[in-house]
């Protein structure tokens, strides 16, 4: 299946509508009937209502613009997306952080976060506050335009932890998910990051890769795939990195569209539901993370953000009203896509959770 160059939104596709996605998710099932509601599943394991265990990570989505249009993107990002966080909203994030020292880590995501015109300013402020900054860098952005070529140096200067997707150690599987030529450019970008010192063991500049399956299957054990990735990338390209995070694709947005178009939707949902792991459920990332949208709205995670499921009503809904004490008492908003976080070894922005 070729990768469309336009976002679902630009195509005016029905899956650009979160309400429609939720409707489809409600009616996932097999011949034997719909799957149990995720909340009911948690209740069986005394995990309902699901509440934070103590939030330490603020994940900020600085905009949906991206130089790529990956087939599986849960953000529906792409060059045609114009939603972008303003410096004023970034300032509100900084104010929230200043009054919440518990938030030790700020995880910047997008789109391609580097395409936000105030990205560097924001990173400078965050590192000035002594927070650990994570950037979810798609790698190809580093080569997309000369103005991005010095990103490795910039990341190094601010001790940013770089987390980058590389769905496979071969071009065919990578390009099928992320676009033609992405593998080759990603390898070049990884080499540029290695040159400034990223990914060396014990070097302090962390470079972590994200593996997510290019297809309708679940990821394998993180440890075994990491060893295979390390061997292959070093052998073929001289590339080193620190850890591999295995992430399960959640059935929303473009990945949901892929599942339906390829006829894999029911069997994939069944795989997720069958692989429900209570230990992974206890460790889902929304228990220690709060997600901020490009417009400052607050969500339990980046997936809920894309489904426009804001944090529980009655708790602060916008970063300008941020109050960690109150937010840590909230009940997390759940839906059927949450099965993606609890399958097998569990899945989060930091990889497996068990």
């Amino acid at each position: 299946m070729p990768i469309p160059v336009k976002s679902l939104k630009a195509q005016q596709h029905q899956f650009a509508n979160p309400a429609y996605q939720l409707e489809v998710l409600q009616h996932a099932g097999t011949e034997e009937g719909d799957f149990p509601h995720f909340g009911a599943k948690l209740q069986e394991h005394q995990l309902y209502p699901l509440q934070p265990t103590g939030t330490t990570i603020l994940q900020v989505n600085v905009g949906k613009m991206c130089n790529q249009t990956c087939r599986h993107c849960h953000v529906d990002a792409g060059p045609d997306r114009k939603e972008i966080m303003t410096r004023a909203t970034m300032q509100l994030c900084l104010d929230a952080l200043a009054k919440s020292p518990q938030l030790t880590t700020v995880d910047l995501t997008g789109g391609a976060p580097e395409m936000n015109p105030d990205f560097r300013w924001f990173v400078e402020q965050l590192s000035g506050m002594g927070r650990q900054v994570i950037v979810r860098c798609n790698l190809t952005i580093i080569l997309a335009n000369p103005k991005y070529h010095d990103l490795p140096e910039f990341f190094k200067k601010h001790q940013v932890q770089v987390v980058s997707s590389l769905p496979y150690f071969s071009a065919s599987r990578t390009d099928a998910q992320r676009g033609d030529g992405v593998f080759e450019k990603s390898i070049k970008a990884l080499q540029m990051l290695n040159v400034v010192g990223y990914g060396q063991e014990g070097g302090g500049l962390e470079l972590n890769l994200v593996y997510n399956p290019s297809g309708a299957f679940l990821p394998a054990s993180q440890r075994s795939l990491e060893a295979e990735f390390k061997r292959r990338l070093l052998g073929a390209y001289g590339v080193v990195f620190n850890s591999l995070f295995c992430i399960t694709n959640l059935p929303i947005s473009r990945y949901l569209d892929y599942l339906i178009e390829s006829g894999n939707y029911s069997s994939y949902m069944e795989k997720l539901v069958t692989a429900f792991n209570p230990e992974a459920a206890a460790n889902v990332m929304c228990r220690n993370t709060i997600s901020v949208g490009w417009d400052g709205a607050l969500y339990d995670c980046d997936f809920n953000q894309m489904l426009e499921l804001k944090v529980q009503p009655g708790t602060p809904q916008h970063i300008r009203d941020f109050d960690l004490g109150q937010l840590d008492q909230r009940e997390i908003v759940l839906n059927q896509h949450c099965y993606g976080c609890t399958a097998g070894a569990g899945s989060s922005c930091g990889g497996s959770t068990t």
Binding site: S170, R173, G215, A220, S221, S224, E228
Partner: protein, 111 residues
Amino acid sequence: MENTYYNPADLKKFGNITELQPEMGRKFFDYYGEVFKEGALTEREKALIALAVSHAVQCPYCIDSYTSDCLEKGADENQMMEAVHVAAAIKGGAALVHGVQMMNKIKDLTM
């Protein structure tokens, strides 16, 4: 009985074989689970062996299962096709090596 010998939905019912002989069935599945755990061979290597054997025994259930399993365990298409060629080479070789028996017999029977 159904109208076809194979139905993909039957694969999920494999576990039901314990209904008619619980003890042997359970022992089989325990053993099966143990075999596929990481040991001297990795889980990925075992999945590739299973894929090759699936082709040699021409079991559509196993081909279905172990194609998914190989992908999940991180094997790539090249490795998977090479595994199938190993199965094909052994099957073909096994047929062909009996040609020696045929040649022996020809020698016995002819002047």
